[in-house]
Symmetry: C2
Subunit: 443 residues, 2 copies
């Protein structure tokens, strides 16, 4: 055991995650010291609400309102940024790096957008920026991608990386309810925020997918290239039809190596119900990584919450404690690949992405409709995997009836599908906007 | 990128795993170098079958029959031991350490039995012994336990860590067949070895559980203290009854922190069918880790095979490449905790282990049997969770009929259950040896 005094940590922001970090570090301090070989102590906390901060840390740490006082303190070795967002958090992280501090952050938005700038600054300064908590909360998925699977040429990564939306989708399926109803319930239960936009529109998942894409393929973070589609338009009917066809609908963050580039996309996705990831319910997260040597691996756990996220933040603190006096050359590269060995693989435009599709068409129940629709698909070279035609269920004007026609297609380029969709939508017998959901076999 | 020449690796044994390591290192050499910052090259291979070895490595590496020639070669930085077993492998690993080589090994048997001696020698010599491939093949579970979850007081670890037995159990369930029939099929398909003893008797799983126990709780490896029960006595009927009660039967390696010590055991286990791990099928592996901060996490992937195991071996090679010139103080401790901070928590005897139980009694179908059986349980203080009584299905001598009585109990100490089992077995109406399978809720 080293006789070094504890490494000193300054927290910027002590809300849900920060208080978890403080509490777990206190509770498990002996266990953590036995692992790290050195104590880890939060000795300074900056929070605008100094009263709340003091009520959490008591006399254990100095509390200040000004984050820059933490950065300026020469006794602080590691700065933990838990403020969130792109604004002041970005400035403070850059200033902490400039001051020679190692940084631990849970801020996926910041890294997905400004990661290149931040990692370059850290590299130049010889400090570490660790971010295990930025993706999938307590699941050590960054470590798996960056260290555990180094032997592999990663082929794809697909994850349920937003607990709020997975909770909503699970509830929609369990209870047969539509999105709006379940969102309100999720807000009441604290699973969704008052302003849930980042979650339900897929933006949070896209931040995380962007980071995993960089780690998997050795490319710079490129959030602006990500395709992002949320779950707000999903209907209970589609979840039910998918179930009948043997699929579950999950909001997946997907990044995939393809000819000429990398796919990077977030959207609702049909996944075969027998896949383990299809059975990840409620607010849980799971990430599947496919490598050429290891095959399929999956990582599952809580993707958010005070102590699960704190678990990841503290794992980073232990890593930094172990490595901060070591030669920077021996540290794990921020984005898994050495900074001078990054790839320039481009993120391919969505039109070139190839997936299967679930289509739901509201059609007039009359002869020739199926022939018209399948004829358009055939002419576009789109191969059909399954068709589900329901009995006519609604009487329209003048005694006409309507029905749902559900089609699963084999792999098709998005551009091809878009053209076919436009043609189908123009059919007079197609009575409502066609629902299109992408499908991945994940095999 | 470093200008250092490739780090030189010597392989001891180039069978299934060794050839996978060689092949993946060759195929992904550029990808691996971009991550590690330095090339990794197998330059020497020792195998008794030098002809086969040469046919695999060609001119890329020197092939010798004598493993000691590899250890004696001053150019070799890392020795990869893939011989297996406790005999010559132990000697060679100790000699490699003595010669100042870092060691990477997939040999769980060796480490579970002789780990203390080996890790102490490595510590004294300042070299690393890395063993990611020793547990759950390509799944980076050692890294998760040792680095990813350092914030946590680990509460328990439970894993499907033997692919052969999971394949057999999956087939027994799918096809309703008994053990012997499925074992023969597994042998024909290459999922079970000609001598399957280590797998089917639970010994291989116990080796791995022993290693996870040490990593989770900071205790020395103590394979001799593990309780080990295999799957050879399992019957299709029990798998079917378990299913009717909402459970699957899996061979689990379990290690758990309890009052006064640590449980360490391998046995067939009823697991609720809705748990993710209950849905791990075929030869796949999965490990669930419960930590006080992170909650439940699960790690899933291929637990064996040439390239999945190679994936773990190479991840270790990259770790060693990154850390071998660093101060030994900054390396991750072999058993997750610093050598001077190990715990002396004892492995508790099986009599004190507390679990639920599944009992199947073959009883005479006559009044009072259920009362007799439940009376014994009640007097022992054993609480019943569920009872399943089948209709009488068999006519015995003199027109008497028999039936299966299935009982699920709540948590009970094994010693208490043993006494109750003896009393029930002595009832004249209990007509065959009682089947007892342990049950874990894993919640």
């Amino acid at each position: 055991m080293s006789n070094l005094p504890p490494i000193q940590v300054g927290l910027l922001g002590i809300g849900t995650v920060g208080s978890g970090v403080f509490r777990v570090l206190q509770r498990n301090q002996e266990e953590i010291r036995r692992r790290a070989g050195r104590g880890i102590a939060i000795t300074m906390v900056a929070d605008l609400d100094t009263g709340r901060a003091r009520s959490i840390v008591g006399d254990a740490a100095q509390v200040v309102a000004d984050a820059r006082a933490v950065i300026a303190n020469p006794a602080i070795d590691i700065v933990v940024e838990l403020i969130g967002g792109y604004g002041i958090a970005r400035q403070l992280v850059m200033e902490a790096i400039e001051a020679g501090k190692h940084v631990v952050t849970a801020n996926k938005a910041l890294l997905a957008v400004h990661g290149s700038e931040i990692f370059a600054a850290a590299q130049a300064k010889g400090v570490m920026v660790a971010f295990e908590a930025a993706v999938a909360g307590g699941i050590p998925i960054i470590k798996a991608l960056r260290e555990g699977l180094t032997a592999n040429r990663i082929q794809w990564v697909a994850g349920i990386i937003n607990g709020t939306t997975n909770f909503i989708l699970s509830e929609m399926r369990d209870k047969g309810l539509d999105f709006d109803v379940v969102l309100k319930e999720a807000q009441r239960l604290g699973y969704a925020e008052a302003d849930p936009t980042f979650d339900i529109e897929g933006i949070d998942a896209a931040h995380k997918a962007t980071l995993m894409s960089a780690l998997a393929f050795g490319i710079p973070v490129q959030f602006d290239k990500a395709y992002v589609e949320g779950i707000t338009k999903l209907q209970a009917a589609d979840i039910r039809y998918a179930e009948q066809l043997g699929y579950r609908i999950k909001l997946l963050g997907i990044t995939k190596r393809v000819d000429g580039g990398v796919e990077l996309r977030v959207h609702p996705t049909l996944v075969p119900a027998r896949r383990l990831i299809a059975n990840v319910e409620g607010a849980m997260n799971a990430v599947v990584v496919q490598g050429d040597a290891v095959g399929t691996t999956l990582y599952y756990g809580k993707g958010a919450g005070s102590e699960p996220t704190a678990s990841a933040v503290i794992a980073d603190l232990v890593d930094v404690t172990r490595l901060h006096t070591a030669d920077p050359q021996h540290r794990v590269p921020h984005l898994a690949f050495q900074p001078h060995a990054m790839s320039d693989l481009a993120v391919v435009p969505m039109e070139r992405v190839v997936t299967g599709y679930y289509l739901r068409l509201r059609v007039a129940d009359q002869p020739g409709v199926l022939a018209d629709v399948t004829g358009i698909l055939a002419r576009a070279g789109i191969s059909i995997d399954a068709v589900l035609q329901r009995e006519a269920d609604e009487v329209g004007g003048e005694g006409s009836t309507q029905t749902d026609l559900i089609i699963l297609t084999h792999d098709t380029a998005e551009g091809t599908m878009n053209a076919a969709l436009a043609a189908m939508q123009a059919l007079p017998t197609v009575l409502a906007p066609i629902v299109r959901i992408r499908k991945e076999e994940l095999a």
